[in-house]
Amino acid sequence: MFHGGNVSKIATRDAYGDALVSLGKKRNDVVVLDADLSGSTKTAKFAKAFPDRFFNIGIAEQDMMGTAAGLAIGGKLPFVSTFAVFATGRAWEQVRQSICYPNLNVKIVATHAGVTVGEDGGSHQSVEDIAVMRVIPHMTVIVPADGPETLQAIEAVAEYQGPCYVRAGRNKVPTVCPENYRFRIGKAHVFNEGKHAAIIATGIMVAEALKARDQLKAEGIDAGVINMSTIKPLDRDAVIAAATRCGAIVTAEEHSIIGGLGGAVAEVLAESAPAPLVRIGLKDTFGTSGDGEGLLKHYGLSAGDIAAAVKEAIKKKKS
């Protein structure tokens, strides 16, 4: 069972849409830009509530990033949204040159990340976005696990000064964070410490990690679960503590195993706390069409896959 037994389900993109409206009520410097996907990214809710502060830039992601940069210089707090694959791929250099290099206060909130985009297929399934955003200096990268955490993350990035990338998904996901949970940028949430191995998960994979933990418990394996919702700056202390405590780590992300959460954790482990690591994620491959749930199994991202990875990591530890 999930912590607190809360089974309500909401897509992180829906939570984002609601968070924007409440932020718009509180602050009149908030402006929102979208590239013809406002119905899907849920910025349409803000557009309806504050039409004067919403700018549809059309299918022109590069121009949208630059326009947001200009709005930030002009004293506004821009939130920029489109699908993750376009925000971070099509407009990568604009994000680098016009937002991060000048260190401007622009918030990029991309939706439809990962393979659970589903039927649209590999062209629309972003599996590299965490990696390509994480590598840019000045950029903060956040991947909320559920609706309530998304709400808090949006409030937090609004308060934070500097460029941020927040990754949201398309499908409804269960609420996993406890009721009294308080999101802080750069701070991991430890569900349970674990003894034999620790699963460090991000985004929708946190729910899968919790399921894996419960499956393993029945087999006598005590696996910790950590929600690493900030990928950059990574909570190094949490990673080192988990590695020291459990001696084996599994990472789980709906993203390539290269350069994302798994890459970031591997960097910390290799430098500061060597321990066996198994990375759950897409194994250097593009996505494909299908239903979201089916695709998680297809790419080895289900709770069962995580549980198997935990056993593998423990085995590595013993050998």
Partner: protein, 279 residues
């Protein structure tokens, strides 16, 4: 309000002094973009010493007009103009491109006051100018936004995305200028990737378009005055210029896009420019 003869003479003298500073700093530094800095010197002079509202003691002054150097490689021009306008000490110009300098190879807004945004990767400045113009519209503020583009830069697709956005949002507080000097690194723009007809293109994108001699100070300032009166759409001033303008050593020579003068070339150019100042 027409510009006076005396004003024009002062502006022309200023442009010559700016060219002198550009050439001195580039020769001293030994790397940087000579041709495109010189070709836009009259345009930048008209903007900073005739048209724009700003306060060098308060770079973040809310009522300032904004200037975006989209063709960021003309950084030596921007630095010279900012120094002469009083944003920083003239002596700092000699630090161009050196380790620890605020005068980066391409403008960096993080470290140098007066630079609105870092540029250098071509095609991105007009979008930023649009964002600023939208911010001023939201604030119902009278600030104006100016963006200087290169003609080779018009080959970037983002420019045309931004062209649509500016017209769509009726950004009449925005005035863009093209330094139409006809040359880019690999050769004549017409040979590398033709961008003409420039004026027709911007007109078709919904802009008011003015076409001027980019070295005729009176024509430039008159166009800038006119741009302020255009309502409901942005204005593009296409400035016909000569790359390397100011000395026969550099004029129309493509090799001076990214190379700097020798000491001998500098001496020749100084002579030509200083004789002009004394006229």
């Amino acid at each position: 309000m027409a510009v006076t003869e005396q004003q024009l003479q002062t502006l022309k003298d200023r442009a010559r002094r700016i060219r002198i500073d550009i050439l001195k700093m580039l020769t001293d530094c030994g790397s940087g973009h000579t041709g495109g800095s010189l070709s836009a010197a009259d345009i930048a002079t008209a903007l900073y010493f005739y048209k724009m509202k700003y306060d060098p003691r308060k770079p973040g002054w809310k009522e300032r007009d904004n200037f975006i150097l989209s063709k960021g490689h003309a950084a030596p021009l921007l630095y010279t103009v900012l120094a002469q306008a009083g944003y920083f000490e003239h002596a700092e110009l000699c630090t161009l491109r050196k380790i620890g300098s605020r005068l980066q190879g391409h403008p960096d807004s993080k470290c140098l006051p007066g630079v609105e945004i870092s540029t250098g990767s071509l095609g991105q400045g007009l979008s930023v100018a649009n964002g600023l113009a939208l911010a001023h519209k939201l604030d119902k503020a009278p600030n104006r936004v100016y963006a200087l583009l290169g003609d080779g830069e018009l080959q970037e697709g983002q420019i045309w995305e931004a062209a649509m956005t500016a017209a769509h949002y009726k950004l009449d507080n925005l005035c863009a200028l093209v330094d139409n000097n006809g040359l880019q690194i690999d050769g004549p723009v017409a040979k590398v990737m033709g961008v003409e007809p420039i004026t027709d293109k911007w007109r078709a994108f919904g802009w008011e378009v003015l076409d001027v001699d980019g070295h005729d100070m009176e024509k430039i300032v008159t166009a800038l005055d006119k741009a302020e009166t255009i309502k409901g759409k942005p204005t593009m001033i296409v400035c016909r210029t000569v790359k390397g303008k100011g000395s026969k050593c550099f004029e129309g020579k493509v090799e001076f896009h990214g190379t700097t003068p020798t000491k001998e070339e500098l001496a020749t150019a100084m002579k030509e420019l200083e004789e002009g100042v004394c006229k």
